[in-house]
């Protein structure tokens, strides 16, 4: 008799815990997804800026084919990226390719003086900064989510409920600083 009540009580407690855990996980995971959408918006904005930038630069520096190809390739990789990991790699590739592009632009005084080029460069710098901040917010949310999933006793159940740890969006070393583009 007493044992039965005890068991029922225990089951109810476990049920409540599962309910609470599931709802918390859903809430925190939604935050992670929302934070990712902030990064995504900025990545898309950068993708949209690049064709314009390439056109402008090509007008002044036709012979730098290798540089253009790298940027185009990185942009294509960015467009095709499906997972956080792929986006991260494409983003780092793109950042590197753009850095080279701006370094090459140094050799073309007419290009540097072009108002259009300056404007695009400003926009890109702004986007880079925004990506950095969006990444900070995203990674903070991922950290909270992963701590929740991996701490005991949640770790025993989270995966059974269909929750897997989220991936961090990492910057390449040194990319966190503002992109240095001087004229």
């Amino acid at each position: 008799m007493n044992i039965t009540y005890l068991l029922i009580g225990l089951l109810v407690l476990i049920g409540l815990y599962l309910l609470w855990l599931y709802n918390s996980l859903v809430r925190v995971k939604t935050r992670v997804q929302e934070a990712w959408s902030h990064i995504d918006v900025q990545l898309k904005r950068r993708i949209d800026l690049i064709p314009n930038l390439l056109e402008t630069v090509k007008g002044y520096a036709k012979h730098e084919k290798g540089v253009f190809e790298n940027v185009t390739k990185a942009r294509a990789a960015m467009l095709g990226a499906k997972t956080v990991k792929e986006s991260e790699e494409a983003d780092n590739m793109l950042a590197g390719a753009l850095k080279t592009l701006f370094a090459v632009a140094e050799n073309y005084p007419d290009l540097k003086a072009s108002g259009n080029f300056k404007e695009l460069q400003d926009e890109l710098t702004d986007t880079e900064n925004k990506i950095a901040y969006a990444r900070q917010f995203y990674n903070g949310n991922v950290r909270d989510f992963n701590i929740m999933i991996k701490s005991f006793p949640n770790v025993l159940i989270a995966s059974a409920l269909g929750f897997a740890a989220a991936e961090f969006f990492e910057a390449e070393k040194g990319e966190r600083e503002k992109p240095e583009v001087k004229f």
Binding site: E34, H38, Q42, D126, N129, Y133, A134, Q136, F137
Partner: protein, 292 residues
């Protein structure tokens, strides 16, 4: 403690603050009413009055504050530099973009208002824009955004309003006692009730004020530290505070009622002791930022 716990805690805090102050107000109204003849009318009146006051403050305080400060809204094209800083930090904090206002004054100061992140406003003075470096301005904006994100403005508005209505009701109570000696109500109230009422009328407003000020000071420290966490550069805000501390220009459009909203107390320190001040001493804030 993570950010969301912080926010949840603040929401709870504003609820309890609201609840208990209301209780005291109603109690005061009850005793007051008993003194005048009908305790329930008194309680009812006190309730309706403070509810109306709190409601007005909740929905209109931002407009009132902006009107008092003389702040004017700006567009992105007016100051893309300031806009970008706010945009970036908002992305970092996961906040919607607030409306941005500029106060055309030389004093170095800034404030935030609005009942929730969707209705928020950040205002900075012209002097601040002209005198701060990039990372210093970022520090200040991050401090203001932290107030918004933590729902500090709501807590502070409620605290100020409830403390204010307590003062008013207590004032009415004390005055009416002075002028109604020997009136019809006097005989009906027991001495104990009368003493409770008197004690409440005198003590409650003082406690409410002290509570409000203590909360305000604690919120400033918290906004400093969460702002520093947002920019990942505490030194920026520390230097900005240093400049603000050295700045002796005073704000023209400010009142006692809006003082607690600013990043640096806009009222002259004068003879105020730390217990009665809306802000912790600037040196202490800088020290804590640099110790981090």
């Amino acid at each position: 403690m993570n950010l969301y716990t912080q926010i949840a805690q603040n929401r709870r805090r504003s609820f309890f603050l609201f609840f208990f102050t209301f209780l005291v107000i109603i109690l005061l109204g009850y005793v007051f009413g008993a003194y005048q003849g009908d305790s329930f009318v008194g309680a009812g009146l006190a309730f309706v009055f403070s509810l109306a006051y709190a409601g007005t403050a909740y929905f209109f305080s931002d407009r009132i504050v902006l009107a008092i400060s003389g702040a004017k809204p700006i567009e992105k094209k007016d100051n893309p530099y300031l806009f970008r800083i706010v945009e970036n930090l908002c992305i970092g904090a996961g906040l919607p973009l607030p409306k941005i206002y500029v106060v055309e004054e030389a004093a170095l100061n800034a404030f935030a208002t609005g009942r929730d992140p969707q209705h928020s406003v950040v205002a900075v003075t012209r002097g601040l824009l002209e005198n701060l470096e990039d990372e210093e301005l970022e520090g200040v904006i991050a401090h203001e955004l932290s107030h918004i994100r933590n729902f500090d403005i709501r807590v502070m508005t409620l605290a100020a309003v409830l403390a204010g209505s307590l003062v008013m009701i207590a004032d009415i109570f004390l005055r009416s006692m002075r002028y109604s000696r020997g009136s019809r109500g006097r005989g009906r109230v027991s001495g104990v009730l009368f003493l409770i009422g008197l004690a409440l009328a005198i003590l409650a407003p003082i406690f409410a004020q002290l509570l409000k000020l203590a909360i305000s000071r604690q919120r400033e420290f918290l906004a400093d530290s969460s702002g520093a966490l947002l920019t990942r550069y505490p030194e920026g805000l520390a230097r900005a505070l240093e400049k603000m501390g050295a700045d002796k220009t005073s704000l023209q459009h400010v009142s006692e009622a809006t003082a607690h909203l600013y990043i640096k107390s806009p009222l002259s320190a004068g003879f105020r002791t730390s217990l009665f001040s809306t802000h912790p001493p600037i040196e202490e804030r800088i020290k804590r930022l640099r110790a981090a």
